[in-house]
Each structure stands twice: as C-alpha cells, then as structure tokens.
Symmetry: C2
Subunit: 333 residues, 2 copies
C-alpha cells in the first residue's frame, strides 16, 4: 500500500481503540487521527496501568472514560469499522495479587465485548493486542507462534484466554481478526513513573533524572519494538485482516536484534550522551517464579504476511525516547 | 505400590472431590471409599451436566450440593489431604451459547478455589481433570503434551485457563499439582440420556433401547478410556504428585488403540451380541466450526511417570457398560 492508498483506506473510517489513553493505544490514536480516521478511545484510566491523559494531547480523538467490564458498550461499538483492542490488565504482579480482577478484565470482559460487537458491528475488523508473556520461559529461541503456551503467571493465563476468544470469533463467525503477540515495546508515552510498564520505563526515568537504575539479572536477552513500528504493525494488521492468509491468525511481533539487559543498559546510557549509571541486582525473590529468562521473537510470519519491517533501530529509538521525555518529565513522573 | 501399600496410603485420608456426583467424579468416589478414604463430594447437580444422584448409590461418601462459583468453600477444604478437581462445565455447545457462565465455572471459580485451598489446606495434593479439547484440530497424531494449544471453542479456552491456574499454584506456591488431559471416557455412570457427554452416551442408550443411533462423520479417529482405568490414573496421579518428576506437570491420558467412529459403532453392536443399527450422517452445520477431526493421545509421559497402563480393552469395556446400564436404564434415561 502506498501512503496515498493507506490514507484513502483510513479516511473517514470509524475506529474504536480500547485502552486508547495507554502507551500503545494512544500512539495508535495519534496515527489514526493523522490518517483521517474518526477515532474513539475508551479507557478506564486505571491508576496502575499505562493510561495518561497527556498521552492524547493534540490528537483529534474522542476519549470516553469507562471500564470495559461495565461500561455501556453498544453505542461505542455501533457501526465501527475497525476495533483496536488494546485494553488490558498487563501487570504481572497485579495478576498474581488479584487474579479475579485480572481475568475479569482480560477474558470475561472480552467475551462481553465480543458479544456486543457481534450485534453492533458484525463486519468490523479486529486487531487484538496480545503478548509474548504466555509463552513463559522459552523452550527454544527465537520463539515462533507454535511454541507451547505455558503462562508463567495469572496474567499470562487471562491474556491467552482473551486472545483465544477473539480468534474463535473469526473461526466460528467469520469476523476478520488478527492478534499480535507483542514483545517489550518502548518509546514516547510509555509509563516511566515506575517499573509497572516494562523494565525500560523506570530506566528512562532514572537516566533522565540523573539517578542510578537497577538491572535485575542482566544476562537475559530481550528484543524491543519501538512504538512507531508497533503502530505500523497494527495498521498493517487491520489492513490485511480480512485476507484469507491473515484472518484468524496470531503473529509474533519482534523488533530489534536480541540484546542482554546489560547491553541494553549500556546502549541507553550511550544514547544519553554517556550520562547515566546502573547497578546489577539479582532477580527479586518474589518475582523469581514468574521470571521467563531470555526471549526473542521469530516474527517472520508477520513480516511475510504484511511486509512489515521495523524502521527505528534501537539506538535511534532510545535517543528519540529520551528527547521526548526530557521535554515532558512533569507529565510522566 | 502394591494393593496393600495403596490401601495404607489412602486409609483415613480426607479427600474432596468436586463434581463428585458426575460420571468420573462419582466413580472416583466409589474407588476412594473402597480404599478407606474419608470422601466428601461436592456437586452443583447441574441439569445439563453429568451429575446423577444414582451415581453415588452405595458409596460411603458425603455429598454436598453446591456450586463452586458461590458455595462456602472454606469448611469443605479445611485440612483436606487430596483434592480431585472434577467439577467443570464440559459442554462444547453450552460454552458457545453462554461463554460467560462457562468461564465463570471453569476459570474464575477455579481461582477462588485455589485461594481458599491456599488458606484451608496449604499442603493438599491436587489432581485436576483437564481435557484434550483445547488441542483443537490436531496438527499431528498422536498428540503429545507439547502440541500447540488452539481451543476450538469457548469451552476449550476456559478449561485451559483453569488448568493453567492450577499449574501456577505448583510453580509459584509449591503445591503438588498434576493435571490429566483426558480423551473420551466411557463406562458405567456416563450420562446416556442424550448426546451431552461424549458421542458414546447416546449410542449406548439407543442400542439398549433397540433404536438406531447416529454416527456423525464416521472416519474420525478416537481413543477411549474406560472409567476404571481413569480412576486408576487419578489415584496414581495423586500418589506421585509430590515427586519432582510429576509435580506441576500435565499428562495426556489415552487408552484404547485409535479407531474410527464407524469401527467404534460396529464394535458397540458386536458387544451387544450383534444387536443394533446406526446411520451415518454428515457433521451438523452448527457444530462444524468446533469439530476437531481425528484425535488420539500420546500418553507415554504419564505411563513412564506412574506405570499406568489401561487394563480394560474396548470390547470388554463396551460389554461391561451395556450390562451395567441394562439393569439401571430407568435411572439414566
């Protein structure tokens, strides 16, 4: 699709983004609004999550505050063309502490949303934000989509259930659905206040504030996806979802070449002009049972189906992130 | 374990069996009571499920009527030594019709039970009745435990979630937990009133009543486990669950050599002295999307871990089943 074709595709489309005030949801809202889509964001603005009202600053988006567990969904879903389903409880520790709330958001509320959408927008395309999380500690690297599912925590159980309900909607009712299993994503609008949204959030804050950050473990490999590349992936996924080769599929999404946490820490400091320091700590005992070790994605299936390829390298992405937050620290700390 | 060792192991043990009035739950209750265990069965006695008060006739078992979604669980779980967790919504069509109730029973109520058990019986062993169902349409045969999980219906989604919560309890809290992924089980106490509990239930009824039964499709392969062999498997699973080589594991359970539905129909009629007839019909359209084709289990891991081997061959199991129901048709139709 050329840029012009893409703009034509999205212009005037009714799009609903759940979790639209969060890190990835809001970035997607900005991108969609720029393409001329009519975007509604719904977000529960949960304190422990990624939502931040500042995330939607400057975007032509209608933000509805509401929790998908109980908000009136019918009017939100009416005649929607595309649903980007980004709302989730994503906290691993939160899921362990309160698995009932965790499954209520990530699975039971998904069932309700699916049922409402079936009535209100039976032909809408859905792109569901899923996660590498439930692969657990990888049995082999890189991890492809046929890797066994072995959730390391309650959050992984509920996220897998939610994803599978959406895929069933394609298989049983023919709805165009694609699920993207994300790895660690980073960039502007990531929650950096604390360690609740990937390890990189709090690292960015500490570096920007001139404080020492902690690296837990250090040898674990991770791949990272820059937010702009995530947005491109979601747009592409929606564009191809009705095609037979994409409908009802899950795709891993990777990004940068795998690097150890130590290497990532070094490159973050380099991206900050060499300023910054970290200490290496052992993995906290209360998190050890849910630690997954090394991960990186085999995302060749998604690349083949969509032509997607990450455009923003790690060093550039880190530099851009630092620059973005430097001007907005007060809104994010 | 010799028979004497097994009796010594179980004598006086406090055992809770959820779904204890159902097909497999009640068979387990009978077996446990014979071994001298102190058995409490809890069952919601749901009309669409496998529960039947006649199933517990003659067993020294306390039956509590209650739904694990809301019953007071604490007193039931207090100081239990072993929990056999057989309660489930198992209807595939029911799960599609009401996925919210389905996940409430199979996953959310499991979380509650796990939490109560953590307080009331922190060291109890748990054997969780799981299912081959969520492997979906097999990518290869026979199906081992690393086969990808791809639930073909909402019931498969919720059952996988429930299983995984129990396994986490082993990984995070060290509880001895084993999950058995069952294939089609049959024998005395199976629901034969209608087609709600495997295809074989209604076949048995039709044959016993001298009526024609329907074979849907016909070429699909199935393996079957006779109920006595299932009971042995659950007892063995509880006995080995605390060992490092078993704790926290899932095991497939197979049984008879795979046979096509047509062959199974022929053998059922042969077991009935040649009396009986069937018609082959195409798979009903409303069930086609959740049809899984052929399945048979690779259960070598469980055999290796426990020494289990099925004792009752298919022809004998079918003959025993027919004989058992012939004397009790009124209670089961």
């Amino acid at each position: 699709m050329t840029d012009a074709e893409r703009a034509a595709f999205w212009r005037g489309k009714r799009v609903l983004v759940t979790g639209g005030a969060g890190f990835l949801g809001s970035a997607l809202c900005h991108g969609l609004a720029r393409l001329g889509a009519r975007v509604t964001a719904i977000d529960a603005m949960m304190e422990e999550g990624g939502a931040n009202i500042a995330n939607l600053e400057g975007a032509s988006v209608l933000l509805v505050r509401g929790d998908i567990r109980d908000v009136e969904l019918h009017s939100l879903c009416q005649d929607v063309d595309v649903l980007f389903n980004m709302a989730a409880q994503t906290s691993h520790m939160g899921g362990q502490r309160d698995p009932v709330a965790d499954i209520a958001i990530n699975a039971v509320a998904q069932v309700r949303l699916i049922q409402v959408l079936r009535e209100a927008a039976p032909r809408a395309t859905v792109v569901h934000a899923s996660t590498r999380q439930f692969y657990g500690r990888p049995l082999r690297l890189p991890v492809d989509e046929l890797h066994p599912v072995q959730p390391p925590d309650a959050n992984g159980v509920s996220k897998f259930a939610g994803e599978q309900y959406w895929l069933l909607e394609q298989r049983v009712h023919g709805r165009p659905v694609v699920a993207l299993r994300l790895t660690n994503c980073y960039g502007p609008r990531l929650r950096i206040r604390d360690a609740k949204q990937t390890f990189l959030g709090i690292w960015l804050r500490r570096v920007l504030e001139g404080e020492t950050f902690e690296v837990w473990g250090g040898e674990q490999l991770r791949d990272l996806t820059y937010v702009d590349d995530v947005v491109q992936a979601f747009l592409l996924a929606a564009e191809v979802a009705p095609r037979p080769e994409a409908a009802g599929r899950v795709f891993n999404l990777g990004g940068s070449a795998p690097a150890s946490l130590i290497e990532l820490a070094e490159r973050l400091i380099a991206a900050n002009g060499g300023e910054g320091q970290y200490v290496v700590k052992s993995f906290p005992a209360d998190r050890a049972p849910i630690d997954i070790g090394s991960y990186h994605a085999d995302d060749r299936a998604f690349r083949a189906a969509t032509g997607w390829t990450p455009r923003v390298g790690l060093d550039e992405g880190l530099a851009r992130s630092l620059e973005w937050y430097r001007a907005r620290l007060a809104d994010y700390t």
